[in-house]
């Protein structure tokens, strides 16, 4: 989405336009205005608060809970390679663990919420008809809605990363990343690897986001849109575990969600991530485009 300066001739009003003086379609429902409308909502605050609370809860659990098996024993004899056991190594590992915890479910739900609620909630508040009659061109409304939904999802992800890092640094120090598959990285490399993991998780969130956005256009019930998207993602996740489906699974939307593990080897292995990222982006584009085509023709009866 390109943001342009507000000056310049109207985009669609022809020379015979009967628009009121001062009306320009591309000044309607700007991303900024839409952001203000969404930022004051409680669910936005709750999502961002969760992103800060999760690392706090985990730190509290680690500090107050019984001694972890990964500390104290040291030496030989302990063969576990789990990521969770490495969470207390330092801020980098803690952040990685938080991403692992939240990428499967929490962030999926948050992405589905920000996108699935976007159009359907306007319908449920009856504000959709007033926006469209203002008039906000329909595609422009979808553009602002999708942009703000993606922006808020990305913000939540960044807040989670930043909060985890800050809280992890206070609780466990800033020792560089120890890979769950072996080896320790330099601080610079730790940052780069974590950035790759976070960026990849962000891209895979486009799948639930796209499904939820389409649902949001199809229904006037915001919870229904969010719920339907989450259910679809979960069902696809179950299908992905059925080995009997064979290579069909590689076409499933959720198939690539864990490929970020490949960023933690001695070298980043890009194969799966390249497929997963491209797949997510293409699927998101297609889902949003279908939403546009549907919304173009939809009778607004809400």
């Amino acid at each position: 989405m390109t943001r342009r300066p507000a000056a310049g001739p109207p985009a669609t009003a022809g020379p015979m336009s009967s628009a009121v003086a001062g009306y320009t379609p591309r000044r309607t429902l700007t991303v900024r205005v839409e952001l203000v409308r969404q930022l004051r909502r409680r669910r936005t605050a709750v999502a961002l608060a969760l992103a800060v609370a999760l690392p706090l809860i985990v730190v509290a659990a680690v500090k107050l809970g019984p001694a972890s098996s990964s500390t104290g024993r040291g030496g030989l004899g302990d063969g576990d390679l789990d990521l969770v056991g490495l969470a207390t190594v330092g801020a980098w590992n803690f952040t990685l663990t938080m991403l692992l915890f939240s990428s499967g479910f929490l962030l999926t739900i948050i992405a589905a919420m920000f996108l699935g609620d976007s159009v359907a909630s306007e319908a449920s508040w009856s504000t959709l008809r007033y926006l469209l009659a203002a008039p906000v061109p329909r595609r422009r409304l979808l553009r602002s809605k999708a942009s703000v939904g993606v922006l808020l999802t990305a913000t939540t992800l960044l807040v989670l990363v930043a909060a985890s890092f800050a809280i992890g640094a206070l609780a466990f120090g800033t020792a560089p990343l120890t890979s769950p598959v072996g080896g320790t990285f330099s601080t610079g490399e730790s940052g780069a690897r974590l950035a790759v993991v976070a960026a990849y998780i962000g891209l895979t969130l486009l799948v639930p986001a796209g499904i939820a956005f389409l649902m949001s256009v199809l229904t006037d019930v915001p919870l229904g849109a969010v719920g339907a998207a989450v259910v679809i993602v979960l069902v696809v996740g179950i299908l992905d575990r059925i080995e009997a489906l064979g290579s069909v699974r590689s076409l499933l939307p959720g198939h690539y969600t864990n490929a970020w593990v490949d960023a933690l080897g001695a070298q980043v292995s890009w194969d799966e991530m390249a497929v997963g990222a491209s797949y997510s982006v293409v699927l998101f584009s297609v889902l949003v485009a279908v939403a546009v085509l549907r919304f173009d023709r939809k009778d607004i009866t809400s």
């Binding site: 009121v20 009659a133 906000v136």
Partner: protein, 838 residues
């Protein structure tokens, strides 16, 4: 994005081109249909020493498009059949080779008994296969009875490929993977270098691997259960000796020797590709190394390429694609005049993955100009420390450490890191200090140990390994490999051992420690039964780590990632263009009709399901009037209003606003303020924020006339409270106020007095009248008719989706003898007849 139509077409065209390129890239990467496998039966070598009749070998031949072509014979692994190499066969056939696959004797549909690649039987079968290829015109012939043929296989098939090349000089190239050099030293493994181990002393017996192997040949064709299954008697006896007593008779030793590539390695004078598995506890890299050294010693000028890959009998990393490509390239270079193949050495460094069973590890391929051997082309000595330690060899050999899970392949590879836990009292550990810098180990490390026992002990079995101990204390046993040691006897006087530890390719990070662990048990091996206590110490503090100067071959995203990424970017561009392109272009106003605020022409709406809400409605609203749209509930008033606002698409007819036909999002709608079927407000914001944000969202820049509008709302201080706390009437007034923002030229009010109490209704009536006094147009729909009578100058009466009456209030009343409008209206809609005045 503001684009001219030309730019839009260019953008769309660019997106299509990039998409097409991406699709083409993916399509090119896909393989075409391979040639069909044509079945045939080939008479092989003699059935047995006593029966000269040939065995019948079940075979299949694949013919490529271009003929004649060089041939490749593919031999399968133990327990498989000709069908287990179908994928490899298809891949080679697609590369233009005639590919012959066959089930070895005793396997699949072939007759005969398993003789473990004996020269008289299986190798004779291989020669019979080459005979068949010599008769085929589809195969390139180098001379009379000499087809151009390569021989390839893995494990059991790999040994056959090497043996066949040693016995049959018509074979022109070999590719042998994860196979044995010497069968006896593979199954009875000994890691103590000469001269300590006596030549005739057997190593530790791999009883689980042997059992898995033997078991795979037990199933007979008729389903009968027998002790020897499909094995020859001689081999059955050899196995029984080993399994019951852990011994090898002289007769069996001769058999094993004959079935080992070591016996013919000096006669292999053709280009040979040797693959070794880093995850292979059955035929470890040391076996492959021995074959490579023997061939190179006999024929130093013959091309020999050695590859240590991440797979093996224990599973390991998935390198199928790469190995298939290497094999194809090798035969292409040496049989088909393809691009020459360098004889550089390749090894894989595998990072296991603890999180994902999907990717069993990531592989980094490293290359050196030539094969340096298992001891590397350099070495690093690191100081080991640790006192002499006493270890127990438990009675009965249990409990035993678990390092590998023979026969479970892939599962074992993933599990080994998790189960390789040394048992207490059974292990002696010697560790290095934390490494000052990262250290790569490539090859077989060496350590010198001393072993003694207070009492004389016989049949001493030990297992030594190198582990990488990370900063977190989690030790990594690369591929679960251990080096078995077996000594005939150990007494009170210390025995010094030079131990060749398992060959690995692994990186230890700075700060990691290396540990040499010596254990008395391993469940994969035959263990002595008597309890014994040994003292194990270091004879030398040096841990000798082999190194190989090598450079990484593969880095960065694969080639096919680029068209894929381009496709994704194209999809995003396409989406951005779609979203930026308005669906409609404003047609512009018809000046002749611009004096009418609203014109509705033949407007109809049928909803899916067959409900006709509006049916051929026509009326017009001149500028400056207050028009009442009257009708009972369900008359189609709201649907008509929504069609005027571009919210609902008419099935037929059209609506014009100030002379301009309306479509969704028409710019002309910016001249209208509307209130349709109740207010639409953001509940989490205050009244004032709602008005402010609605104005900012509406794309207008003029003065919102907030003071006047707030006056209409009449909410007082409540305007700064959240809308969630408002009463129905307050919301209603705020909704109407929102419609009046910027004082638009046309105001559409649908049932504006719903939910208001009588004083507020009166007030609203005054507001509307004042609004219209300024020359603006107002359309009010209502089912409360008295209301319209007092406010409006014009009336359109609707019922059941149609216009029943249309005209000024005075006109309508005039035709009905001075009665009240309400009575007139009830008469009209009640009877359903149409009365059109004016």
């Amino acid at each position: 994005m503001t684009l001219t139509p030309r730019q839009r077409w260019l953008a769309a065209a660019a997106a299509v081109v990039v998409l097409a390129a991406g699709t083409a890239g993916i399509a090119l990467a896909r393989t075409p249909t391979p040639p069909a496998a044509l079945p045939l039966t080939i008479p092989g070598g003699p059935a047995s020493a006593d029966d000269a009749a040939p065995v019948q070998l079940d075979a299949a031949i694949r013919l490529p498009e271009r003929l004649p072509a060089p041939a490749v014979v593919l031999a399968h692994g133990f327990g498989g059949s000709k069908d287990s190499v179908n994928d490899e066969a298809d891949a080679l056939a697609e590369r233009g080779f005639v590919v012959l696959t066959y089930s070895a004797r005793g396997f699949g549909e072939s007759s005969g008994l398993i003789s473990m690649n004996s020269p008289e039987f299986e190798v004779a079968d291989a020669s019979a296969i080459v005979d068949v290829l010599a008769d085929r015109t589809e195969v390139v012939q180098d001379g009379a009875d000499d087809p151009r043929v390569g021989f390839a296989g893995g494990s059991y098939g790999g040994a056959l490929a090497l043996l066949a090349a040693g016995y049959d000089d018509r074979i022109d190239a070999v590719a042998a993977d994860i196979t044995w050099n010497d069968l006896r030293s593979s199954l009875f493994a000994q890691s103590v270098a000469e001269p300590v181990a006596e030549a005739e002393s057997l190593g530790a017996y791999k009883q689980v691997w042997s059992g898995v192997f033997f078991g795979a040949g037990l199933t007979t064709a008729d389903g009968q259960v027998t002790a020897c299954g499909r094995f020859t008697l001689a081999w059955c006896r050899a196995y029984t000796d080993a399994a019951t007593q852990g011994t090898v008779s002289a007769e069996s030793a001769t058999l094993m020797r004959a079935s080992s590539p070591a016996s013919v390695a000096d006669r292999i004078a053709v280009p040979t590709l040797l693959g070794g598995g880093e995850a292979d506890s059955l035929f470890p890299l040391a076996q492959v190394d021995a074959t490579a050294r023997q061939i190179a010693a006999a024929h130093p000028d013959v091309p020999l390429k050695v590859v240590w890959h991440g797979a093996g009998h224990d599973g390991g990393a998935d390198e199928t694609e790469r190995l298939r490509r290497l094999t194809g390239d090798w035969f292409s270079a040496h049989l088909a005049g393809g691009p020459p193949m360098p004889t550089d050495f390749e090894m894989s460094r595998v990072e296991g993955s603890a999180l994902s069973n999907r990717a069993r590890g990531t592989v980094e391929v490293l290359a050196a100009p030539s094969y340096p051997g298992i001891t590397g082309d350099g070495s690093v000595r690191i100081a080991l420390a640790g006192p002499s330690q006493q270890v127990l060899a438990p009675a009965g050999g249990v409990p035993a450490a678990v390092t590998t899970l023979p026969g479970l392949g892939a599962i074992a590879g993933a599990a080994s890191a998790l189960v390789a836990v040394p048992l207490p009292n059974q292990t002696a550990t010697f560790a290095t200090p934390p490494l000052p810098a990262a250290q790569r180990i490539a090859g077989s490390p060496r350590v010198r140990l001393v072993v003694s026992s207070d009492v004389e002990a016989t049949d001493v079995t030990l297992f030594a390994s190198v582990r990488v101990v990370g900063a977190q204390g989690s030790p990594l046993l690369p591929n679960g490999l251990v080096a078995p040691i077996r000594l005939d006897r150990v007494g009170p006087s210390p025995t010094t051992l030079d131990v060749d530890l398992p060959a690995v390719v692994v990186d230890a990070a700075a700060g990691d420690r290396l540990a040499v662990v010596v254990s008395t048990t391993d469940q994969a091996y035959r263990l002595p039964t008597g309890p014994a206590v040994y003292t194990i110490g270091l004879a030398s503090n040096d841990l000798v780590l082999p190194t190989i100067a090598a450079t990484a071959l593969s880095t960065g995203p694969p080639v096919w990632a680029w068209p894929l990424g381009a496709t994704a970017i194209a999809a995003l561009i396409w989406l951005a263009v779609t979203l930026a392109r308005p669906r409609y272009r404003d047609p512009g106003a018809d000046v002749a009709l611009a004096d009418q605020a609203v014109i509705v022409e033949g407007l109809s709406k049928r909803f899916p399901g067959g409900v006709t809400a509006v049916d051929g409605v026509t009326f017009s609203v001149p500028r400056g009037v207050v028009l009442g749209l009257l009708g009972p509930n369900g008359a189609g008033k709201s649907t008509t209003m929504r069609m005027i606002m571009g919210l609902i698409e008419p099935t037929e007819g059209r609506a014009l606003v100030f002379g301009e036909p309306v479509h969704p999002g028409s710019a002309a709608l910016s001249r209208i303020g509307c209130f349709v079927e109740g207010p639409g407000l953001l509940p989490h914001l205050s009244g004032r924020q709602n008005l402010d944000l609605f104005w900012r969202a509406s794309g207008r820049t003029g003065d919102p006339r907030l003071d006047e509008v707030l006056d209409v709302a009449g909410l007082g201080h409540a305007i700064d409270r959240r809308v969630r706390t408002y009463s129905q009437g307050m919301r209603q007034r705020l909704g109407i106020a929102q419609a009046m923002l910027g004082l638009p030229e046309l105001l559409l009010l649908d049932e504006p007095t719903n939910g208001l109490d009588p004083p507020q209704i009166k007030e609203m009536r005054d507001v509307v009248q004042r609004y219209a006094e300024r020359g603006r147009t107002v359309i009010i729909s209502s089912h409360l008719l008295g209301e319209v009578e007092q406010t409006c100058s014009h009336v359109v009466v609707m019922g059941r989706g149609r216009v029943i009456a249309d005209g000024t209030v005075a006109d309508l009343l005039a035709g009905h003898g001075g009665r009240r409008l309400e009575e007139v209206f009830l008469e009209m809609v009640g009877e359903g007849h149409t009365v059109v005045t004016s």
